[in-house]
Symmetry: C2
Subunit: 534 residues, 2 copies
């Protein structure tokens, strides 16, 4: 059979000098536009774009996602200017503490996970080891065995998997959950997802059947929730976390907000809880969790438990408890309360955010509902299989006695202790500053300090058409290079102001960071004062 001329094929590459895209040499004008304007005169072009901002889905326009909003955009701009040699900033580096993205701040990945995927990517080496004698020198025996296990089980990173996820991985997840909770877990209840976000979006999209459906969310909250509810045209039903009591939640507040929403005609169907909290970092006690579960049972609400920070707890008296375990311990709830729990590769000590791996476990769901959720997953085919495989490894890491165990354990332990140290140092520093109050870090990757802003500061913000905490955070960024997210991006109790910062900056940078924030805060208080009651 004759083949078509080589140059006509999309993959043909005539020569190396062709590698440079035209765009780097041409003026960076809009594509296919130069010189054409004059030649064109017709109805269409004079009417402007056929699809304008006003035509957009209003729910998309209304959705907000501050974690990637104004602050990080300005920070990226400054970082670029610094890279190009700018000297007009009183710092030489932007520290991105706006987002829990550990590996972007030089946190090293877990070696075992990466070695297994490295072998699976280059499967030839693995399947033909006789011809690649160096492989055994580069990869420990349990890495080689694990990669072979996944391949043998049909986890092919280049192929679509089952939409619910690779069966072996779902078994590994179930095994982890059983060890964690001491109660059975069924692989068929587990859906592998692209991070936790995908599972949360798909489930909320299934629950929000019409615009009167309400979803209870904590305030402050991770803005994925408000954004998704807005996108789905549902109603967020806010309940406030109790800052005075370390950001815990209580059933009275839940009940008050629920009743109010129902009285106003909202059909409240689900309650979202983030534990450990984001942005607030609190870790719930079992007592509180039992109250929450009882509340869901009484009020017939689906419980969405965002538990992506389950490995990130920092106080010995406040360990993580899963909602699954708590539900299982309550005889009047364990067969009835519908629980969806979410976990992710992006957090913990693993911090593989770019991987987009995670899972959702569904407990007590109507099988017909579950079937529709599987169909939803199938419309996007599957989530990326390398992320699925790593999710399996998160749940079934090297065991004691296996060649990779010591290194694995050392890596996890040192990442954990370093995270905890950084959390405590930063919290202590904030607590020492005038006009900032932080409490003790309990969990997650964040501090959510309260900032006390004077009327003068609030007026100065209003003058600039900024929320007061946005103004504060922008000033902090411009003067220290420290990029955080204003509390208004997460919503907060009216009249209070906060910011969220991760404690992920590298340990060796913390001391000078603290120093420059202290200076900033002193200057700020000198310029704007403090509110009289603070």
């Amino acid at each position: 059979m004759a083949s078509a001329p080589v140059l006509a094929r999309a993959w043909a590459r005539p020569s190396a000098h062709f590698l440079r895209p035209l765009s780097r040499t041409l003026a960076s004008s809009r594509p296919i536009s130069q010189g054409a304007q004059a030649a064109v005169a017709n109805d269409a072009s004079t009417q402007g774009p056929s699809f304008k901002f006003e035509d957009l889905n209003p729910h998309l326009v209304a959705a907000e996602y501050a974690v990637r909003g104004l602050l990080p955009q300005r920070a990226a701009q400054i970082a670029q200017e610094l890279q190009q040699g700018a000297t007009n900033y009183p710092f030489d580096e932007v520290i991105f503490a706006n987002i829990g993205n550990p590996q972007a701040l030089a946190q090293p990945p877990i070696t075992f996970f990466r070695q297994v995927l490295s072998l699976m990517e280059n499967e030839n080496m693995l399947l033909d080891m006789a011809n690649f004698p160096h492989v055994a020198a580069l990869y420990p025996a349990d890495v080689i065995a694990r990669a072979k296990d996944y391949i043998r089980a049909g986890a092919d990173i280049g192929a679509y998997s089952a939409s619910q996820g690779v069966p072996l991985v779902r078994e590994q997840v179930a095994g982890y959950l059983e060890r964690r909770d001491g109660v059975p877990a069924d692989p068929s209840d587990i859906f592998l997802t692209a991070g936790a976000s995908e599972g949360i979006s798909n489930l909320l999209g299934a629950i929000i059947a019409n615009p009167s459906v309400g979803i209870m969310i904590p305030i402050p909250q991770y803005p994925l929730y408000s954004a998704t509810i807005t996108l789905c045209n549902g109603k967020p039903v806010k309940y406030y976390l109790d800052e005075e009591a370390g950001w815990t939640l209580n059933a009275d507040e839940l009940k008050r907000q629920l009743d109010e929403a129902r009285a106003a005609g909202t059909d409240v169907r689900a309650l979202c809880v983030i534990n450990p909290g984001n942005p607030t970092g609190q870790v719930l006690t079992e007592d509180v969790m039992r109250e929450v579960v009882q509340f869901c049972r009484r009020e017939r609400l689906v419980l969405l438990a965002d538990e992506v920070y389950q490995a990130n707890t920092y106080q010995d008296h406040l360990p993580f408890h899963s909602f699954k375990k708590v539900v299982a311990s309550m005889p009047d709830c364990r067969d009835t309360v519908e629980l969806a729990s979410f976990h992710s590769l992006s957090k913990g000590m693993i911090g593989e955010c770019g991987r987009r791996g995670g899972f959702m476990e569904l407990i007590n769901f109507d099988p017909l509902v579950r079937e529709q959720l599987l169909k939803r997953a199938s419309i996007n085919l599957c989530c990326n299989v390398a992320g699925q495989v790593m999710t399996g490894m998160m749940c079934e890491p090297p065991a004691v006695g296996e060649p990779s165990y010591d290194l694995y354990h050392h890596e996890m332990e040192s990442l954990y202790t370093s995270l905890r140290r950084r959390a405590l140092i930063l919290a202590d520093a904030f607590n020492d500053m005038d006009g900032i109050e932080c409490g003790q870090p309990q969990g997650a990757m964040y501090l959510f300090p309260r900032i006390y802003l004077s009327d003068k500061a609030i007026a100065a913000a209003q003058e600039r058409k900024l929320a007061p905490d946005t103004f504060y955070c922008l000033q902090l960024l411009e003067r220290t290079g420290f990029c955080v997210v204003p509390g208004s991006g997460f919503d907060q109790y009216p009249g209070t102001f906060h910011f969220r910062c991760t404690f992920l900056p590298q340990e060796e940078k913390i001391a000078s960071l603290v120093h420059s924030i202290q200076e900033f805060q002193r200057d700020w208080v000198e310029e704007y004062g403090l509110p009289s009651m603070a």
Copy 2:
């Protein structure tokens, strides 16, 4: 700082024997339920699930996605039975031709792409080559250089990237588009996406502002379109491809359907074209494409061009033309017609479906609209970075003269010629069978043969409450192990019946596959006859 007891940590693994999940040893009953039933008697449990099928978002319930529907589910069941030793089928293997998933059918990946990612996964080897002398023996120099390029450019596969995608990758995509089309491409117009699906869903979700918005889609169509439009509560406005003319489309049909929809009050805002077609495989000529573009200009429609099969064309007289190039060649359209073009890692010769990589290029879009699409992407943070990096390699593969070029070119060329051979053999075989008509394969990975079903066959299907082509495909599966998707899953002109099959089964299996389909078809025609007019 004291560390918490090791066993309390989520990553602690007491010993290897703990590896076995409880679920493998316990009865596989629903979790946390056994024995509890009797102990429970309260209002909640007697009311059944609080969230039932009837409570679901009706748009989710209404969405259909046949590519992963009844046929593949039954096929998976049979495959499992065969694996467990079943001998009651007249075949010993299920051949999954229902989905374009090449690597699941043993198509090998492209070595260069995998080697680069293998090194990036195991970055230690790369960054410390003095300590890993074997690396240079295992990886060609250009692989090592490429991996370093990506890392140097900040493409960190473990970290969230910019929501629009890694800048270097977007430059590589732009370079590819410029070489392909001969017109400038701007990296800021490019969004990296999880496969093509994510870009298509997000854009349709932005356009469908309310239930009166209509989106024109081809019939037959890839069901992502109908499913997404249904999920977003928009109106599909169907236009029929012309089977007699090799599944091309024509402007008269577009105009007729548009006018009818508008007369019925539908606010038609966009036209979707799949070229090369899915499931129909047609490759559009430039003349037809110009008509389509003029139609969009006149009618002020956004043009969504699904071009994921751009490397899959099999007739020398029908090469692929991009809509971007066609739009750019039309002075009255090139600055006005809003074009979104989609591409993917999953198709072509690369076939990395499990990777979930792809891109969308936006031309002539209102910058304010583009900004909202970027916000939409940011709510899910970013798509997986390994997929982004491979998208960069797809667009900038090894160049002539580089160490990996010859192997790369050989792999692409032999995959291509093999695909083409398989397409022609299967099409010839179908065309030779009584009651099947197929035409010549033009592009994509599919044949979409028409099957002529007698009244007797249709009645037999109705008896079983199945669509006639679903009945046919189920019978084909049960008797040959060949899993295809009925035309009704893609929609088709009323009264016609088809199925879609990929031509991805391994070449050495094609002859016996053809033989068993021939036998099946002979038996089928003997049992049900052919319609009188066929």
